[in-house]
Symmetry: C2
Amino acid sequence: MQEQVRVVVDAMGGDNAPAEIVKGAVEAVNSRPDIKVIFTGRKEDIERELQKYTWPRDQVEIVHTSEVIETAEPPVNAIRKKKDSSIVVGMGLVKKGEADAFVSSGSTGAILVGGQVLVGRIKGVERPPLAPLIPTKTGVSLLVDCGANVDARPGHLLQFARMGSIYMESVVGVKNPRVGIVNIGAEEEKGNALVKETFPLLKECKDINFIGSVEAREIPQGVCDVIVCEAFVGNVILKLYEGTGSVFMSMIKKGLMSSLRSKVGALLIKPALKQTLKSFDASEYGGAPLLGLNGLVVKSHGSSTAKEIKNSVIQCVSFKQERINEKIRERITEQND
Amino acid sequence: MQEQVRVVVDAMGGDNAPAEIVKGAVEAVNSRPDIKVIFTGRKEDIERELQKYTWPRDQVEIVHTSEVIETAEPPVNAIRKKKDSSIVVGMGLVKKGEADAFVSSGSTGAILVGGQVLVGRIKGVERPPLAPLIPTKTGVSLLVDCGANVDARPGHLLQFARMGSIYMESVVGVKNPRVGIVNIGAEEEKGNALVKETFPLLKECKDINFIGSVEAREIPQGVCDVIVCEAFVGNVILKLYEGTGSVFMSMIKKGLMSSLRSKVGALLIKPALKQTLKSFDASEYGGAPLLGLNGLVVKSHGSSTAKEIKNSVIQCVSFKQERINEKIRERITEQND
């Protein structure tokens, strides 16, 4: 039997905790025998939710924790003080090697801080970036960094490009992934100071398939597989992606309800539209891994439903089986030698 | 009779020059008696296009220029060397007071450089920002700066907020416009170094209706009237806005063509969808003004059609009649005293 991948799931994090979190994690273990879920959180809350489902006993465990880190709490303080929170205890299990991965929809700040402080960085990795997959016209692209390291330096972006390439190649299965840097024009002399300094360095890297600048307009087209940028810019891209999509949809829906004719039409197009939207639904792709840690930390969306949690848990299996962290360690060590 | 607003239109700039440019400008003079258009560009090309239409003789003039600045040319060099280009001559007319405004769909770089070097800044304005109106769910917001000043400093962003407020109040007619700063979280302590430094300064400005941080996700909702950000971020926002919209539409169209049922539905919803899309069409709002110059410079989209050019020209009338530059001069001088 294949070795089980042990995934800690933070049952207390996110807008829909614990109900959707527990549901999604149960769906994950029911779909694959090679996953073991370890919930951290208030035992009675988790058990109450678990009662609604059936699942293989040996694939689910609960580690009771009494505290919860709220989204609004200053992250550094929260991580330091709430020793018995679902996040701190869960990351501790990864740190001690008692689990392979940690999935949470809780406070992004606390997860970023905890990942660095509790789980720790792979030797040589300077800044672990948050790297979600975003849907495009032709598939998915990895956006790295989308929120972990504001005001990053060129060397950090190079590491983002490397780690992102490994992820896209090994987890998503894209051969020789194309790496682009977010810029405000196609030419090498365009950009802000950070991009101008990083561009020639990326060009020199023989182990990176660098295709040059990518304008934000081209991102939804799927022009590259790994989109490298500083975290502030990446966060703006990720959130605007979500924001325009949802406003666009609500406006179209409103438009469709404006006349009897369009209402009839709306009924007819519903199945086709649903299919189209599914391919543009980020929750299909699970959460965002924090790359470059001694273990895997996955941040799923604060508003995650069971589907995203399920996909986030399953994502941890490929990450472990494809030995992503070993590959990152090798590649970063090579470069630093 | 009301005084005419004299608008120089660069007949050579943009993907659709000169045909769409001339067409749009003629539509503008035909729609209002208070506009005079002065074309700069190759006389024979402009005359050939003009022959297709009728228009009041005293509202159109041609100033022949022999050179054209291409989009790919390094801007500083182009402005310096091509003295007889449609951009340099056109901006010169504004500088000399022989025209009130200059509209071009040509090289953004050349227009930004030319605006500063040839037309010149209003005394006290440090960096003139490019400020397009972007469509939102509830109307429009002004995005300032969307590409003129990468790596700006906090003091620049304060001026963007002031000039943007004047524009929204006087040209768009929004009373006491709400100003937000683009950030990656709602709390004051979030953000990169620039935002953290700018936030408290904006809060202190009594003449700015500052509502705090705005996340990119909220921008399409129309949560504020003036969106302040550094140019790299603003450019990413503007282009991603365009990019997601167009990919989304092409995917929906493709989805609608996928079955007979959805094809019939598509026919029925077409009018309603068209109306919805119109309200989200940036070209309805003309081009982007470069704020804070001694005269008005408007950059319209490189792919502008006649409609955007017409709207860009008409936009110059409100700008002049509402005495935007006088208001900017007064407000900036007050602050610097």
